[in-house]
Amino acid sequence: MAEPVAVKLTIKDFKSDQEVRWCPGCGDYAILAAVQSFMPELGIPRERIVFVSGIGCSSRFPYYMNTYGLHSIHGRAPAIATGLSVSRPDLSVWVVTGDGDALSIGGNHLIHALRRNVNLKILLFNNRIYGLTKGQYSPTSELGKITKSTPVGSADSPFNPLSLALGAEATFVARTIDSDRKHLQSVLRAAAEHEGSAFVEIYQNCNIFNDGAFDELKDAGTRDDYLIRLEHGQPITFGKDGQFCVVHPPGGFGLEVRETASVSPADIVVHDAGVAEPAYAFALSRLPGEDLRNTPIGVFRQVPRPSYDNLVHSQVEAAKAKATGTPEEQLAGLLTSGDTWTII
């Protein structure tokens, strides 16, 4: 983890000189603005922040941040960022990826970064479509989705990114929405504080190829009844008047939504992101229906586990501490180790 340094920066310091080239109205703008205005809060000097991305509309993100940035290749950002983070523990490394980038071509790297618990803050911009390649369905698109490559509807069932991350042993899992800056920043704050991999799914509107995918979660008329705002330590209730709540159904495995009036207050689940057993967060991740009803946002899971970076580093440091002599002397010793003979 980057040690905090007292620097006073403003949103301006994080805007690069590059012209932003997303489609007008794209949800990516809102996320960029939210991240840029959040960054000063970190108190980390710009040169110690690195954004690494793959390929996709979302992956253009690093060009617009006046930090260090690496726009890499499709799907590989978690792997590249792993090498950077492990070898440079002084840096704050952020990965920006899309649903295709992270879950299709790069699925392998994502799950392995999460299981290792590499010290990365991974922001997955989920627009449930391939934006950059002009509108094919993605691994988060609904079954039956009609797109350019699926004119009669896709036959693929989607991934639930949070369920996947939890299955991959992620220690921090959260979801937020592009249009809700306050919420987005609160999640970023929690992610930044987490040691290890922080996985954040951000629902992002692609107004060109999948417009309105998350409208029910955004429209004033529906959002309160659709969204479950998770707050650590608070009973999980939602709805305009708190008319819904989440309970452990007796005899069942997961969690279910009930009318608050129909259950005893003691039966309402109190949200605890620190539950060691991932089954709880997993059950939360399964609540939404296909129509987006009962979509939790916020921090699902946040549990401590040593980061890969720290474990690897301490091995190297321990070995160095035990060594004696200059590196040249150690090398000379290593070369002459084993069976040697001398010719005079």
Partner: protein, 615 residues
């Protein structure tokens, strides 16, 4: 009984047995003893890809060949003078390689009906006269070992397993090897089980004493030490030398090293070895696949580490897209390809040189990289340091093409003086380089090397964004400008051509040669041995060997032009020959074999003799 002692100048021994018989270890120990004595040595292990193929079958045969001499030698030897065959399968698999008159030591205990039938012998070859042309020594290796260990507190199975030490003892006696290092080795290896230390030492000594007393072995041999340059030596395999070269690169560059790898034969040993040397600031990562391995390595290089990724051909294929990214990012990166026989899984434990095309051309877009190849096991040490030097000074990916033959073969290595190794230190960018004194231009180049500044995250004032999209000259901003792209493509090619590589040296002792043999990589030994043999027989022939395959040495065209014929032996279907023909318009004669085995000096000698005589 006093035995006759005969002097020999060179001997080739092949230990062959079932994969479970410990032949690699036996060969290793014999080699160590031989090294202690000061002979020149070259070794060649040959083992199946299966960890334990069914016992006693042909696919399960594992062998280890060692060539030692009182002069300097270049190859593990074409044909064994002595074969140790631990079972019928080992005999059957290897007898075809033996010249008439060779000695065969067979473990008769394994020549049972059942074992003979497993490999298709209906009558024992020990009895049907088929081995008449050889000097056969039937020895009950297993029963004599078990007998010798009767008083030891070990199971029958452990006693039987010590038969390889009996064989080693016998061979050590036959060739008058000093055995102290083997005793120490056994003490160390079985430290946790003292009963096995004493059993294995007893088996070794029983084998030695058997040689001394039995009448079947009337002669004992000596091979005098070779005259080698003074200094301290150790016997080293190519993979071990390469790993040490990486450690040396860490020390001489004063940079942390990041090694990303995914296990693959025959490259995994490099990862294993380096994972033991963390104290040099070396981080090893066993990634989820080769793409992640090179990705993490590139990420570490971006952060200022010396990044090295090690693999074999199938892995290089997976790394291709990331190598192209590194070409675009212009960051230092070393990719080690320990080649094996392909395509696809091919023959994972057999050698080949068929990845040259992939190294030179196997990427999308115009994506030139530097390519270099070691010529012998110990040369892997210097070759990887050279690869690191090029990568660091020129900020480019460098592919090092080793192969299974150099990786697993071994030879004595005159240990270098650490201070004499090249200085690999580089400077990171620390300040803006724009004319206004405040802007940083990530693609402003050094006029000589054309390398761009290595500006690592953490450096205040140099924050910048780079990526795989085409970059504008100097600023590194995204650019779709046609003229700029043309310029950048040509500049990336010019960057590789700007790498200084030493002239290729030609060995043409009498200066009379009209035929030049050009090779690269691991064929150096067999080509050199063939040329020597030809010269000894009064023919003139010149040898040149390429370490640098991209860029090629500046004098190569001139060298090629000064011979009437150029012959290019390769363990592929003519990949270097293609390049030489295309680049230098030389009508080179390719000589190609892809048998998964190194060339023999004899076959090259007869092929070259034909060219020398008939043009």
């Amino acid at each position: 009984m006093t035995k006759q002692v005969r002097q020999l100048d060179r001997v080739v021994i092949r230990f062959a047995g079932d994969s479970g018989d410990g032949m690699q270890l036996t060969g290793d120990r014999f080699t160590s003893e031989t090294a202690q004595l000061g002979n020149d040595i070259s070794t060649l292990p040959n083992f199946p890809a299966e960890i334990r193929a069914p016992a006693g079958t042909l696919p399960g045969v594992s062998s280890f060949q060692v060539h030692f001499a009182d002069y300097d030698i270049l190859t593990p030897g074409d044909a064994p003078n002595v074969l140790v065959a631990m079972n019928p399968a080992a005999l059957k698999a290897n007898v075809g390689d033996l010249p008439r008159g060779a000695a065969i030591i067979v473990n008769t205990d394994e020549f049972t009906k059942r074992n003979l039938a497993k490999v298709g012998y209906t009558v024992s070859p020990l009895e049907d006269g088929s081995l008449e042309g050889y000097s056969v020594h039937p020895v009950g290796l297993t029963s004599m070992t078990v007998g010798a260990l009767a008083d030891h507190d070990v199971s029958k199975k452990d006693a039987e397993r010590a038969k390889n030490m009996f064989a080693l003892g016998l061979l050590s006696w036959m060739y008058s090897r000093p055995y102290e290092s083997t005793i120490t080795f056994l003490e160390r290896k079985f430290a946790a089980r003292p009963e096995l230390v004493s059993a294995n030492i007893a088996a070794f000594k029983a084998g030695w004493n058997f040689g001394e007393t039995t009448e079947d072995f009337a002669v004992r041999y000596e091979v005098k030490p070779a005259k080698m340059p003074p200094g301290t030596y150790r016997n080293i395999t190519g993979n071990a030398a390469l790993a040490l070269g990486i450690v040396a690169s860490a020390v001489r560059s004063k940079l942390p090293v990041f090694l990303g790898a995914y296990p693959i034969t025959p490259a995994s040993d490099i990862l294993h070895e380096l994972s033991k040397h963390k104290r040099f600031g070396i981080t090893t990562m066993q990634a989820e696949d080769e793409i992640a391995a090179i990705g993490a390595t590139l990420g570490a290089a971006y952060g200022g580490a010396l990044g090295i990724t090690t693999t074999s051909g199938p892995g290089v294929a997976l790394k291709g897209e990331t190598i192209s990214l590194a070409v675009a990012l212009e960051l230092p990166l070393v990719i080690v390809d320990v080649q094996r026989a392909g395509p696809s899984t091919g023959m994972p434990t057999k050698t080949e040189q068929a990845d040259l095309n992939m190294a030179l051309f196997g990427r999308h877009g115009e994506a030139p990289v530097a390519v270099i190849a070691p010529k012998s096991p110990s040369d892997c040490f210097h070759a990887i340091i050279e690869a690191s030097r090029i990568a660091l000074t020129h900020r480019t990916p460098v592919i090092l093409l080793s192969d299974n033959y150099v990786a697993n073969g071994s030879e004595p290595w005159l240990l270098p003086d650490v201070e004499s190794l090249p200085d690999l230190t580089v400077e990171f960018a620390t300040a803006p380089n724009g004319e206004d004194g405040t802007t940083f231009l990530p693609y402003l180049r050094d006029p000589e090397t054309l390398a761009r500044p290595w500006a690592i995250p953490g450096t205040a004032g140099l924050e910048h964004r780079i990526g795989g999209l085409e970059k504008a000259d100097k600023t590194g901003d995204i650019s779709y400008d046609p003229g700029n792209h043309d310029f950048m493509v040509r500049t990336r090619a010019a960057r590789i051509e700007a790498i200084q590589v030493p002239d290729v040296e030609v060995e043409d002792p009498d200066g009379e040669a009209r035929v030049l043999v050009l090779g690269w990589g691991s064929t150096y030994g067999p080509i050199g041995a063939a040329c020597r043999a030809l010269r000894q027989r009064g023919h003139s022939v010149a040898q040149a060997h390429l370490r640098h395959l991209a860029p090629m040495p500046g004098n190569l065209g001139e060298v090629l032009g000064s011979y009437d014929r150029v012959v290019i032996p390769e363990m592929n279907l003519g990949q270097l020959a293609h390049v030489i023909r295309a680049r230098y318009l030389v009508d080179a004669i390719p000589y190609n074999k892809v048998r998964g085995l190194p060339f023999t000096a004899a076959e090259l000698e007869s092929m070259l003799e034909d060219v020398v005589k008939n043009g």
